[in-house]
């Protein structure tokens, strides 16, 4: 079962302490050795997250390499977030939620038509946040081609032994957080998920708090 590991870091001592509103993108560089916390302010918020090697973005978070490296589907304390080159980008060092998803990917306007109904094409979606954030930061040198399979922090996507997969109500709650130590300089790109059609956000997208410590 999931283990809960608390952090000893004091938010008052953080270098960065920001709120990302529901449905908004966010990106920042986290330096090697810094600690990064994502805090679920109101509970059951899905935080779609991509990581890149800040000095060579062709190296990026790889869901499948992370899964096979730890031979486990779920992310929690002790998980190394592995790149497509087999290196640890970050290590999860504290987690009061206990389980995070990396199979569910990001919602997109196109996949919303498949999953829900054709008219859902016009609802805001994570992939559009990623596209916009990359477009507004030409210095990243990336575009849609670079949107890899992401992590969904705080999202609960259990897989059964017979291979079933469902999106279930979150196991997160107000104030739950996940904290990771950067093992290299990493660029983090987040979409604070605007999905209204499934229980990943409890049908109610809410803000998150992002903190970085030296």
């Amino acid at each position: 079962m999931p283990e809960f590991v608390q952090s000893k870091l004091d938010p008052a001592a953080a270098l960065i302490d920001e709120i990302c509103a529901a449905g908004e993108p966010w990106s920042r560089t986290i330096r090697c050795g810094q600690t990064f916390r994502i805090l679920d302010l109101e509970g059951n918020q899905a935080v779609d997250t991509l990581f890149y090697n800040a000095n060579d973005t062709e190296e990026r978070y790889s869901a499948v390499d992370t899964i096979r490296h730890q031979s486990n589907l779920y992310l929690s304390t002790g998980t190394q977030l592995i790149s497509n080159d087999g290196n640890a980008l970050l290590t999860i060092v504290a987690d009061t939620c206990g389980r995070h998803d990396t199979l569910g990917g990001a919602c997109a306007t196109e996949s919303n038509t498949v999953r829900y109904a054709m008219e859902k094409r016009f609802m805001h979606a994570c992939r559009d946040n990623f596209c916009a954030e990359l477009a507004h930061h030409p210095e990243y040198g990336m575009d849609k081609r670079d949107i890899a399979h992401n992590i969904n922090f705080f999202m609960n996507v259990p897989v059964t032994a017979s291979g079933g997969l469902t999106f279930q109500d979150g196991i997160s709650a107000p104030g739950k957080y996940v904290e990771m130590r950067a093992e290299m300089d990493v660029l983090c790109v987040i979409s604070n998920c605007p999905q209204l059609n499934n229980p990943c956000n409890a049908y109610n997208p809410t803000p998150i708090r992002l903190l970085i410590w030296d």
Binding site: V64, I67, R68, L103, N112, H149, S162, L165
Partner: protein, 242 residues
């Protein structure tokens, strides 16, 4: 399970174990992959040949069909909500898509060094290196490698998420048939599954055979296996103006 009895064979080819291949499969063509020995694995990536930034998307494929593995009746979605190909037959009943591909570092750690100089074409070859070699021929590279499918390989998860690889899931003669719904660039490697528990590097050969299978009928099993897939086919048909 349907076989291509009577259909005109377009081409066939046998990939030795550990090798790589790429090619274009047009809309309306079916490709059979056949395991020639037990324990085969075929790691595959798919791209829209006409617009290669559209490609196979593992998360969208799994969540649309509420499954963590792929078998007959499932389809492979692109990141644009369209169906790249349908799995019309699968004699072994399970294909993994969340474990990724073998890479050189993994082969070195598990099996040691086997270079061309000493071993010629029996050298160790990883799926990731195979992907990179083939992708470069089409103007693609590292940025374009997402989660792949590992045909013939079965990996299950327990309640805590811990994975189990099922050795020799596929037997000699097992086959998967893919009916292409778009013009698809397919990249394949017959290197071992990354969680293969065989102590020595022993990739198995896979035979490919392609034939024209025609337009998808309205009562098609893959199209109708869920409401999501019906919409996925609508998106695909809109793209082709069908």
């Amino acid at each position: 399970m349907q076989r291509d009895t009577g259909a005109q064979l377009l081409w066939d080819e046998t990939m030795p174990g550990g090798t790589q291949w790429s090619g274009v499969l047009r809309r309306g063509v079916t490709l059979r992959l056949e395991a020639l020995l037990a324990g085969a694995n075929a790691s595959a990536l798919f791209y829209n040949y006409d617009d290669k930034i559209e490609r196979y998307n593992m998360p969208d494929t799994l969540k649309a069909q509420h499954t963590a593995f792929l078998t007959a009746g499932h389809v492979c979605y692109s990141d644009m909500g369209r169906v790249l190909c349908s799995i019309t037959a699968d004699s072994a009943g399970w294909n993994d898509t969340f474990c990724g591909a073998s890479d050189d570092a993994l082969l070195l750690k598990k099996y040691g060094v086997k270079r061309f100089q000493e071993h010629r074409n029996a050298m160790h070859r990883s799926a990731r290196e195979g992907f990179l070699k083939e992708l470069s021929k089409w103007g693609l590279g590292t940025r374009d490698i997402g989660a792949n499918i590992n045909f013939f390989s079965k990996v299950t998860a327990n309640a805590n998420g811990a994975l189990t690889f099922h050795p020799e899931h596929a037997h000699a003669g097992d086959f998967v048939e893919l009916r292409f719904e778009m013009n698809v660039l397919m990249v394949l490697s017959t290197s071992v599954h990354p969680l293969d528990s065989t102590p020595t590097f022993a990739p198995k050969p896979v035979r490919l055979a392609a034939w024209r299978s025609g337009v998808v009928p309205a009562d098609d099993r893959c199209r109708n296996s869920c409401a999501e897939n019906q919409r996925g086919f609508v998106n695909t048909e809109r793209y082709f103006g069908a």
